[in-house]
């Protein structure tokens, strides 16, 4: 039982590699769905397993055993194994809940500020322009959808490239990508290995919006140039920032531009199968977690004297 509960805790470590492979081999929209669903499945299996471990530890305490109406002691492999595991699980779970609550509150505040200010500002269509020397643009979900763009960003792009930017942001809003990003955020707080998946999900959402914009405007190269120009313009104004930390690996922007400069290709059934390893990993994790939790429940019922050995 306890061994099964450890499976959902270790399987997520395989996920980052599988996630990158998934994004590389499926179309961005499919990849976004597979990645987000898998991340959510891995995260919930992990939380369920941690919860079962915590309960096992608690039911070892006489006070909780009485509260749980246990007439026999709970049968577990060994107290030397179960008690430290339960204590570690309690610590990890508490930490996760705390960071999640902090992040959720912070993000809700940022979102509310952005929303109220955008609503107060009369928009031209769905566009809300901010007069700022920093090139920046983002999609603001909610009702009605808005595209928030700074004046510096508009000035650094040509007319066609501005349309590319708008098409990209409209694609984010129409596809409801913020739900995927929120799910990724939730998963990232459940297991450290899922933090890398969050970055991959963000990249998948951007890729999906890039491809949607390319379909609307009928020009992949135009989207690529717009992204590159916007990123380089942002770079020029950001280089003076003291908090700039260079990343070790290739960032998301060159990957997106490179993908758009390649002709779009259909992937074969074989590569799709390889990519679905991530989904298989998630299913395995959920299966092991569920079996472990059910086994735990069975042990509790035995200890409660409701079922015979």
């Amino acid at each position: 039982m306890t061994a099964l509960l450890l499976v959902p805790l270790f399987l997520p470590f395989l996920a980052p590699t599988l996630a990158r492979r998934t994004l590389g081999r499926l179309t961005p929209v499919t990849a976004l769905w597979v990645l987000t669903t898998s991340a959510m499945a891995l995260a919930s299996a992990c939380v369920a397993a941690l919860g079962a471990l915590v309960l096992t530890g608690l039911l070892k305490l006489p006070a909780f055993a009485a509260l749980g109406e246990l007439v026999h002691p709970l049968r577990t492999p060994s107290d030397f194994l179960v008690v430290p595991a339960a204590m570690a699980a309690t610590g990890v779970l508490t930490l996760s809940v705390w960071t999640l609550a902090r992040s959720a509150l912070g993000q809700a505040r940022v979102f509310r500020t952005a929303r109220t200010q955008a609503d107060r500002y009369p928009a031209a269509g769905d566009l809300c322009v901010i007069d700022s020397p920093h090139p920046d643009a983002y999609a603001l979900p909610g009702r009605p959808h808005r595209i928030v763009v700074t004046s510096a960003m508009l000035r650094s792009l040509g007319p066609a490239e501005r349309e590319a930017l708008f098409a990209h942001e409209r694609a984010h809003n129409q596809a409801g990508h913020h739900y995927f990003l929120a799910a990724a955020e939730l998963a990232a707080h459940c297991h450290p290995a899922l933090r890398t998946i969050r970055a991959t999900i963000r990249l998948a959402a951007e890729r999906a919006a890039d491809e949607a914009a390319a379909t609307v405007l009928g020009d992949r190269r135009l989207i690529a140039t717009a992204i590159a120009r916007a990123a380089l313009a942002g770079q020029a104004s950001r280089s003076t920032r003291p908090d700039f930390v260079p990343a070790a690996t290739t960032g998301p922007v060159p990957q997106r531009v490179a993908a758009l400069l390649q002709p779009s290709e259909r992937c074969s059934r074989a590569t799709r199968f390889t990519a679905l390893l991530l989904a298989a990993c998630a299913v395995l994790s959920v299966g092991a977690g569920a079996t472990g939790v059910l086994a735990f429940h069975h042990q509790v019922e035995i200890a409660q004297g409701e079922e015979s050995h």
């Binding site: 200010q117 031209a124 595209i147 508009l154 690529a224 700039f244």
Partner: protein, 123 residues
């Protein structure tokens, strides 16, 4: 882009395009200049209609110049609150998670790679 295709676009998208052209110019523009700046095949009358609608909404100001008007984006109190909102958002490093940004920060390697990709494409 064909004339018909541009004229058929939703009104909101056309308003956004006209507004973006005014902001990008950074100086008051006549309806004719807006039409040129848009780089599309919109009819002059369509551009004028959109500019008038934006003026009625209060997002675009206009001044008489010669026989027509020049138009400019309005940057008053609402603009100030928008600026404040941006600095508020800027402080939060986590905002990428709920707000999908067009471009993320680049590392120096990224910057070089990006320039190479663009140069390679232009050749």
């Amino acid at each position: 882009m064909s004339n018909a295709k541009d004229e058929r676009r939703p009104a909101g998208e056309l308003e956004a395009a006209v507004m973006a052209a005014l902001w990008a110019a950074g100086a008051p523009l006549t309806a004719g200049r807006v039409q040129t700046e848009l780089g599309s095949q919109l009819a002059r009358t369509t551009v004028t209609t959109i500019l008038t609608r934006l003026h009625e909404k209060g997002v675009v100001g206009r001044e008489r110049q010669g026989r027509g008007y020049v138009y400019f984006p309005v940057q008053d109190a609402p603009g100030l609150t928008a600026r404040r909102m941006h600095s508020e958002l800027d402080r939060d490093t986590d905002r990428e998670t709920v707000l999908a940004r067009f471009v993320a920060q680049l590392s120096p390697d990224d910057e070089q790679l990006l320039r190479q990709l663009l140069e390679g494409d232009e050749q």
